[in-house]
């Protein structure tokens, strides 16, 4: 008879002091504790107690202007969008409790995919549960063993994770460097499948990719092209289809990946494509198959919002004005910005270091302004950034107020 039950098969006290699987996180734990010990409010633990509109919330007890939400088109409180969501929840319930390929495809999911087909003018659309899953799923599935992925070194985490999950050879090139991309494409062994992955807008600095040249060169080398337009959908391009539309190369993009969690104003992700065999993805793409589909209310709000974005040219024009005004105002105050000219709805303010960046972030929060604090390793070149993302619902006056807040906080922290 075994006595094993009363005898643990591992020592109860771990050998080697306090070392366990969490020890690898000690550096980041110490960094965070150091910041908080200096009296800093935790930039990564902010709670919005009330959300008043796409541009205002009560954050940590303060009335706050939101300038870091990616809510570019301000659709989150649109009455028609809310009504569509409420109706769908009443008609179809709170959730699907199932995968898209089993019991999780409702009428609303088809209508949401139809809205995307109309928005992009493409043949196929596939809705995922998040934008992260859309990149993870499409990239890991289409690029297999022996294929080559050529991608920008500053690609989003979801793109890198899609590469890591697949078996393709992964070859990065220097950010937005057309020549570096071309050289790598040229060196791919003959006969190997090639996928070039680009983003329309890079979210850290708010800069735009030279898609016109890059897509042309990729096509000349026989590569398929995937463009992530998460930060440009709804805003950039005549119809809001993204940088690829503005650059005139949308017809040469094999896959466009996007999200509902920015301009669309809810949550979810998608891929649109004209590839004749695209629909097979629904059966072979594991992050599509092995997760529950979006709730009926979410796909209803997304579909309604996407159709409204098709007619959003006035809002797009106002958002460009906001972006230009904020960019010019911050530059005139003396801040260092991520781009020389405003290229998107993201304006990145470069901080001297993490400590001063965190102090500036906190000073802005106390002024009543929320921006994103971005720090290494998420940032390029180990920069600390205060990222501002504008909304079409910010008024001209609000942008002026924001500039006043930046000026006071900048002087208070000694950055200006």
């Amino acid at each position: 008879m075994s006595e094993g039950i009363s005898q643990p098969d591992q020592p109860e006290i771990l050998e080697g002091g306090d070392t366990d699987l969490f020890s690898k996180f000690d550096d980041i734990i110490n960094l965070r504790q150091g910041l908080l010990a200096s009296g800093q409010e935790d930039p990564f633990n902010l709670v919005m107690e009330k959300v008043l509109s796409p541009t205002r919330a009560i954050c940590n007890g303060r009335d706050t202007i939101l300038l870091g939400t990616y809510n570019y088109m301000g659709m989150t409180f649109d009455p028609e969008v809310i009504e569509a969501g409420e109706q769908a929840m009443r008609d179809y319930g709170t959730g699907t409790t199932g995968s898209r390929v089993l019991n999780g495809t409702y009428q609303g999911h088809k209508e949401c995919e139809d809205a995307l087909l109309d928005f992009y003018g493409m043949d196929h659309a596939m809705v995922f549960s998040t934008g992260y899953l859309a990149n993870l799923g499409i990239i890991s599935t289409i690029a297999g063993k022996g294929d080559y992925i050529i991608l920008d070194i500053d690609s989003h985490a979801s793109i890198w994770d899609g590469c890591a999950m697949g078996n393709a050879e992964v070859v990065p090139f220097k950010h937005n460097d057309v020549e570096a991309m071309a050289k790598r494409l040229k060196r791919v062994p003959e006969g190997a499948g090639k996928l070039v992955i680009l983003e329309g807008v890079y979210s850290m600095l708010g800069d735009v990719a030279p898609l016109k040249e890059m897509v042309r060169i990729a096509k000349e080398h026989g590569a398929m092209v995937l463009v992530d337009e998460a930060h440009s959908m709804g805003f950039i391009g005549e119809n809001g289809r993204g940088v690829c539309e503005a650059a005139g190369v949308i017809d040469d993009c094999d896959f466009i990946i996007g999200t509902f969690s920015k301009s669309v104003g809810t949550v979810g992700g998608f891929c649109v494509s004209n590839h004749p065999k695209f629909d097979i993805m629904r059966l072979v793409c594991r992050p599509y198959v092995f997760t529950a589909s979006l709730p009926p209310s979410v796909v209803a709000t997304a579909a309604t919002s996407i159709r409204k974005l098709m007619h959003g040219s006035n809002k797009r024009a106002h958002l460009w004005e906001n972006s230009k005004n904020l960019h010019k105002g911050l530059r005139d105050l003396g801040f260092t910005l991520g781009t020389d000219e405003p290229e998107s709805a993201i304006i990145a303010v470069i901080m001297p270091d993490l400590e001063q960046g965190a102090a500036m972030w906190e000073a802005l929060l106390k002024e009543g302004l929320y921006v994103n604090l971005a720090r290494p390793p998420a940032t390029p070149a180990n920069m600390t950034l205060l990222r501002c993302s504008l909304c079409a619902e910010h008024s001209e006056e609000e942008v002026r107020t924001i500039l006043g807040m930046f000026e006071r906080a900048g002087k208070k922290t000694g950055i200006l």
Binding site: Y148, I153, E169, V171, V188
Partner: protein, 81 residues
Amino acid sequence: MDRADVDTRIRTALEPFNKKGVEVSDATTFQNDLEFDSLTVMDFVAEIEDEFDIIISMNQQAEIENYGQLVDAVTKMAGDA
């Protein structure tokens, strides 16, 4: 191209990246001895790729920890090309 030639050319390409002037042997590691961060790795790999007109994918880079392994890998790739 033999291993000695590859070694000479990589050694020259490495010089500007070897900021602290670490003495380089086959056992010298990029991460610990040369203190390469991810950005330096990218720039250095790009130099080597251009020098030999090859691709060193991230999958291959994961197998290369020290200088000697890089020289071996490049010798093989340049020979196959």
